[in-house]
């Protein structure tokens, strides 16, 4: 095992130790703050390991037997470090570290045991996410994939006595599980063809043509379904907005920066295989672009600041997927990284606001820019990055995505994404104007957060600016090879969106109600979330629950009923036969005599 292996194992092992300690040592967990310190220290160590690993640029692949079988293990567990994994590892460790630090301030009013539980979940999440990033085969990826889903479930339901939180947690688990069904079937099918789960072996087979391409489309589509669920692509995006019932730092970490990006990471990881199936890739592109547009439309009508951010996350995940589908692997992954930074920033900023005013409703906030200037500045940085304004990180990655999609020949998706650029700027600045400017509607005395919360904010803001500045100085993004007009168009659209939001929500020259009336059918549909949630609810109640009730009835009253019927008839017939036993000796003698007669007749029968 070389240095890279040790470092990767350290990154994985430190949070694992923290989790095991917190899970097993109850007093430590109940101590709350101490548990938090342990979790933060562990993830901090992991961050250092990840950074060193990333800077060293070393790659490594390790594997140990996991499922033994005759003639070599059926499956292995191990570690695969390559440039993609290394940089993703840094992102995960960094955001996890900052979020855990931030949570210490955000959740200061929680009881000790609750806080301990929170940090135990967070450590488990860190282990799972790092394990997912470092996975060297599909099976291991699936294992950690499910574990991050578990952490998401547990953390959404952190305030488990809140009925909405409980419902949202379960909904998130079920919805992503639908995608995971496809994922696991895909893995099994792929194993049936190739006999291995390991990426490197599969890629080798894909490269030299030993993996037959016919029928592979279905397999890769099934695997992609896993990404649809986890990365909240249409039509399985419905869980992500509801997931905002969890604490805000959780939304920042899991439902914005890292876990939801796992789907994009999966497609990135398995890209050599997806390249064999161009149809599936095109589908990924189309679905991604459609998701981006749909979520942007939904984001326009939300009153809950976190839900706006959630829909924007769905929308940006659509961008990433669209880029991957168009063949722009680097662009999609680049957007994943920058989005991880500025979306975490936005969520943590929103958390600071919510922490200060005690509500999620943007209509009950306003003029907070004066009361909490630091938060306003970092939030504005994040918003500008998300809108795609030069020279912030989002500008370069978004341009790379747009260029990639255009180059990939997906014209209609490109138009959808371009429209989304406008909508994104509009709904984000709607939030900015409503929350930080405009009329003062907030109650109480909002103020900037304590240092444990503002430090992560400034770090992320600095990174957002720094990454953008780095590319601005270098003159362009990683894959800025598209036509020269794309940056201009996208910037113009973004600025147009900002101006529209300013006109509508700051100047109030156009009333929002009028806009709603003009787009009435669309507005209603967006309010109803395009009836998708209603549809799933109907499927759940009318499909699963009704079917289960039917089966339950059949089991109790037909299958078991038949058993009881047989048993009851046995009892009844026995009851009838009992009457032969009159108890009178003479009746029995009749029987004897009759029997004797029968014997005689039988023996003398001709």
């Amino acid at each position: 095992m070389n240095d890279a292996g040790t470092l990767a194992l350290a990154a994985l092992g430190l949070p694992l130790c923290a989790f095991v300690l917190l899970a097993v040592v109850a007093p430590l967990r109940r101590a709350g703050k101490a548990a938090g310190a342990l979790g933060i220290a562990a993830i901090g160590g992991a961050l250092v390991a990840a950074l060193v690993l990333w800077r060293s640029g070393q790659g490594v692949e390790l594997a140990w037997s996991w499922l033994p079988a005759e003639g070599g293990p059926m499956a292995t567990v191990g570690i695969l470090v390559d440039p993609v994994a290394a940089v993703m590892l840094v992102l995960v460790a960094l955001v996890s570290f900052l979020v855990q630090l931030y949570s210490l301030g955000y959740l200061e009013h929680e009881t000790g045991p609750a806080l301990g539980r929170y940090y135990a979940y967070h450590s488990l999440f860190a282990v799972s996410m790092i394990g997912l990033v470092l996975a060297g085969n599909f099976l291991q990826m699936f294992i950690f994939w499910e574990l991050v889903g578990l952490c998401s479930y547990l953390l959404i339901g952190f305030w488990y006595d809140k009925p909405e939180a409980a419902r949202a947690a379960v909904k998130a688990f079920w919805t992503t599980k639908v995608g995971d069904l496809g994922f696991i079937i895909g893995i099994v099918l792929l194993w049936g063809r190739a006999g291995t789960f390991t990426f490197s072996e599969l890629f080798k087979m894909a490269g030299d043509g030993t993996l037959a391409p016919d029928g592979l489309g279905l397999v890769m589509f099934l695997i992609y379904l896993g990404a649809v669920g986890k990365s909240a692509q249409f039509p399985l995006h419905v869980w992500l907005p509801d997931a905002m019932e969890g604490p805000t730092p959780v939304s920042a970490l899991i439902h914005a920066a890292t876990m939801v990006a796992a789907g994009v990471y999966l497609v990135t990881r398995a890209y050599p295989l997806f390249l064999l199936t161009p149809d599936v890739l095109a589908l990924i592109g189309w679905v991604g672009a459609f998701t981006a547009l749909l979520a942007a439309v939904l984001g326009l009508v939300q009153a809950d600041i976190k839900r706006v951010l959630a829909y924007s996350t769905v929308s940006q995940l659509g961008y990433m997927m669209a880029a991957l589908g168009a063949g722009a692997l680097g662009a999609g992954f680049f957007h994943l990284l920058t989005h991880g930074l500025f979306k975490a920033l936005l969520f943590l900023g929103a958390g600071a606001v919510i922490h200060a005013v005690g509500t999620n409703d943007v209509w009950r906030m306003g003029r907070l820019g004066g009361a909490m200037p630091q938060t306003a500045i970092v939030f504005l940085v994040g918003t500008l990055a998300l809108a795609g304004i030069w020279p912030l990180a989002g500008f370069f990655s978004k341009d790379a995505v747009l260029a990639g999609v255009w180059e990939g020949g997906l014209t209609v998706p490109f138009l959808m994404l371009a429209l989304t650029v406008f909508l994104t700027a509009f709904y984000m600045f709607r939030v900015v104007f409503l929350v930080f400017f405009g009329a003062g509607r907030a109650e109480g005395h909002p103020h900037d957060p304590p240092v444990s919360m503002s430090l992560p904010l400034w770090t992320l803001a600095g990174l957002t600016v720094g990454v953008g500045g780095y590319f601005a100085l270098r003159g362009g993004g990683q894959e800025g090879h598209g036509p020269g007009w794309i940056p201009w168009v996208s910037s113009a659209l973004a600025v147009a969106g900002i101006v529209c939001a300013w006109v509508t929500y700051q100047k109030q020259a156009v009333s929002a109600e009028t806009l709603a009336r003009i787009f009435a059918p669309l507005y209603t549909a967006a309010q109803r979330k395009f009836w998708l949630d209603d549809f799933y609810g109907a499927v759940y109640r009318g499909g699963f629950l009704a079917l289960s009730r039917l089966v339950g009835w059949v089991d109790r009253y037909l299958v078991d009923g038949l058993v009881n019927w047989a048993s009851a008839w046995t009892l009844r017939v026995g009851d009838r036969l009992r009457r032969i036993q009159t108890g009178r000796a003479q009746d029995y003698l009749y029987g004897v005599a009759f029997g004797l007669l029968l014997v005689i007749v039988w023996s003398y029968w001709p």
């Binding site: 032969i580 036993q581 009178r584 000796a585 003479q586 003698l589 009749y590 005599a593």
Partner: protein, 99 residues
């Protein structure tokens, strides 16, 4: 005279006894019917003994007679006990074996 008339007589006796056992409602009457059936057997035994010139049948008949006596004594005793307990010897009422 051949064997046949004796056997016919015994069969008649047996049938009459069986009829008595089956139809009598009084326990004493049933016991009498049983006596008749046993005696039908005795007639058969004696007839065959004579016919086959084998004294074993006679010995059997003697045994049967003595056992019959014992049986009647026992049967009557039971009937008396039943009468003491149930205040009746009507066979229809004695249905303790009823299932």
């Amino acid at each position: 005279m051949g064997l046949q008339p004796y056997l016919l007589l015994a069969a008649c006796l047996f049938a009459i006894g069986l009829f008595g056992v089956l139809t009598r409602r009084n326990a004493i009457g049933i016991l009498l019917g049983i006596e008749l059936m046993l005696n039908a057997v005795n007639v058969n035994l004696v007839a065959f003994a004579r016919y086959a010139a084998d004294p074993a049948g006679l010995i059997f008949a003697l045994f049967t007679i003595s056992i019959t006596v014992a049986e009647v004594a026992l049967g009557l005793a039971i009937v008396i006990l039943i009468f003491r307990v149930r205040r009746t010897v009507e066979a229809d009422r004695l249905d303790l074996l009823k299932g």
